[in-house]
Amino acid sequence: MAVDVATGLKTGGAGRGARAVRLSTADRITLTVMVVVPTAVVGVFIWFPTVASILLSFTNWDGIGGVGTAHWIGTRNYHEIATIYPPFWPAVEHNAIWLAFLTVVATPFGLFLAYQLDKNIRGTRIYQSIFFLPVVLSLAIIGFIWQLIYSPTEGLINNLTGNASSTHVIDWLGNPKLNLWAVLVAVGWRHAGYIMVLYLAGLKAIDPSLREAAAIDGAGEWHAFRTVVFPALRPINIVIVVVTVIEALRAFDIVYIINNGRNGLELLSVLVTDNIIGEASRIGYGSAIAVILIVISIVPIIVFVWNSFQERDV
């Protein structure tokens, strides 16, 4: 079999035993453009800023003068964030609660809905459409809509419970002890539908005979789920874990719409944004928090990439 190393043309099969054919000059130029243009855009506007975030986090640049005015200050930004920057630890805590809530409540609920709707029950398509509806709404709109429900005197909840006109009105979004949980309910409302759809696709891919075998063995439903269905969902489980972690790190829109992410709703993403367009802008602080986000998100990204290349025979 003749293989021309100067070209990479695939012929026959899915890449295995590929015979290469020489590419014409025109074809080479076309292929080069096809690769270089998108790569340049993503390189300049995503990867260059990512690297710049890391570098800037070690400088005292204020963003006003040229980058040349920046001085290397080592890890001082990190040290200051952890010691004298008040919103930092609350933001870390809120992001952690966010992730825990999605993992322990919203994701399992999505899986539960998917599992139930996967049984051939009447109206399953309608239920699926209803549960998926919040997923097409932006988190900014969700913040808008849920304010109508949580509003202290005009909201649905307080009016239904008769609290709206009492002397101690519950301020769901204003009380810093409550508002994170109130927001998480709204976020879970959307997240569960998203997870449901992903799991429904995963469940459809499971060989029905597996489940039948478990049923014939007299396995109870919970037992069959735990020992047969859930393990078979492994590939989708990894995707779900990645989606959940990334969503928890990205969380921003809904708290920013509700109160600009203050007073109990601080998140790492909000602190980054505040250090650019907020009243106290410090490029170094914003970048250092961004680097913390990179460090956390690199784990699910590697898991996802590794997982998807494991299953392909590239």
């Binding site: 695939k10 096809m34 995503i46 139930q116 709404l137 808008f144 921003f252």
Partner: protein, 301 residues
């Protein structure tokens, strides 16, 4: 019939009987959950049709005495909603076209040729899509302030505060997901097809535009539906990368709308419904494409 078979039959019958009750419970559970699920949107819809005076007189949780579309009319004009819708379209439509072109080019190269850089290239694109947006926003903001554009492209003379700037960031951020989905999709297209074309003397460009792209129509439709929703729903980019309120796309403009409507919940709910309507319509009409796009990404083709 052996005793064993009889026993199995009896057990199965008993099991079916046991299953009958949970079915009713399941339907009850699903029905209640579905009602609760629709309640937030239903509540916004209900409030949006009630005049402010009506809710002031009778409270929000009450039987409406009058219903009208006046909130919609006010929200529409006061919030400059047509302008913001238009801004969203100016950004989303070119962005989607470029994303799909870029992503199909990458998918094509990765799936039809075996270059040494195929896997690193795909990782380069995929990982870009998984980063939290805030990771890049600070340098991006500074970069946008330093890229000059002719004023006929951007009124500000900069990439900052321009439609082009938002198109570019959406393209850069979203191409990775689509490239991933399309490369998987294109792998399922038999290579004999492009081979035959090559024998006929078709160059790479002809193979791409003439053979592979047309075959990818279902995947492209699914991705276009999904990307429309995502770009339309995006909030952060314009909040940080645009300073002129009247240029912001609709989702980001919600930030100003909130101030303008003050505390008129009826107006807020009308605006919420108006802004949500396009994505709900897209979902209602193209549900299959929407879901297949999502699961295509998650199930790796």
């Amino acid at each position: 019939m052996t005793a064993e078979a009889v026993a199995t039959g009896a057990r199965a019958r008993a099991k079916r009987k046991r299953m009958a009750m949970p079915r009713v419970a399941l339907h009850g559970f699903l029905l209640v959950t579905a009602i609760l699920w629709l309640a937030p949107v239903g509540w916004a819809l209900f409030t949006s049709f009630r005049p402010y005076s009506d809710t002031q007189a009778h409270g929000y949780v009450s039987i409406p005495h009058t219903l009208s579309i006046s909130n919609y009319r006010h929200a529409w004009s006061q919030g400059q909603i047509p302008q913001h819708f238009w801004n969203s379209m100016i950004i989303a439509i070119p962005a989607i076209a470029i994303i799909l072109l870029f992503a199909s080019m990458i998918g094509f190269v990765v799936s039809r040729f075996s270059f040494w850089f195929n896997v690193p290239l795909l990782i380069f694109f995929m990982a870009a899509n998984l980063l939290p947006q805030q990771v890049i926003i600070t340098p991006l903001y500074e970069l946008y302030l330093r890229i000059n554009l002719p004023t006929w492209i951007s009124g500000s003379g900069l990439l900052y505060d321009s439609y082009l700037g938002l198109i570019v960031v959406n393209v850069a951020f979203q191409t990775g997901f689509c490239a991933f989905v399309l490369s998987n999709y294109m792998k399922t297209i038999p290579s004999s097809l492009s081979e035959a074309a090559r024998v006929d003397g078709a160059g790479v460009a002809r193979q791409f535009f003439g053979i592979i792209l047309p075959l990818c129509k279902p995947a492209l439709a699914a991705l276009a539906t999904l990307e429309f929703t995502w770009i339309y729903n995006d909030f952060l980019w314009a909040v940080v990368l645009m300073s002129s309120g009247d240029k912001r796309p609709i989702t980001s403009s919600l930030l100003n709308l909130q101030g303008q409507y003050f505390t008129d919940n009826n107006l807020i709910s009308a605006a919420a419904i108006l802004v949500a309507l396009p994505t709900i319509l897209v979902y209602a009409l193209l549900q299959r494409q929407f879901i297949s796009g999502l699961t295509l990404g998650a199930n790796k083709g």
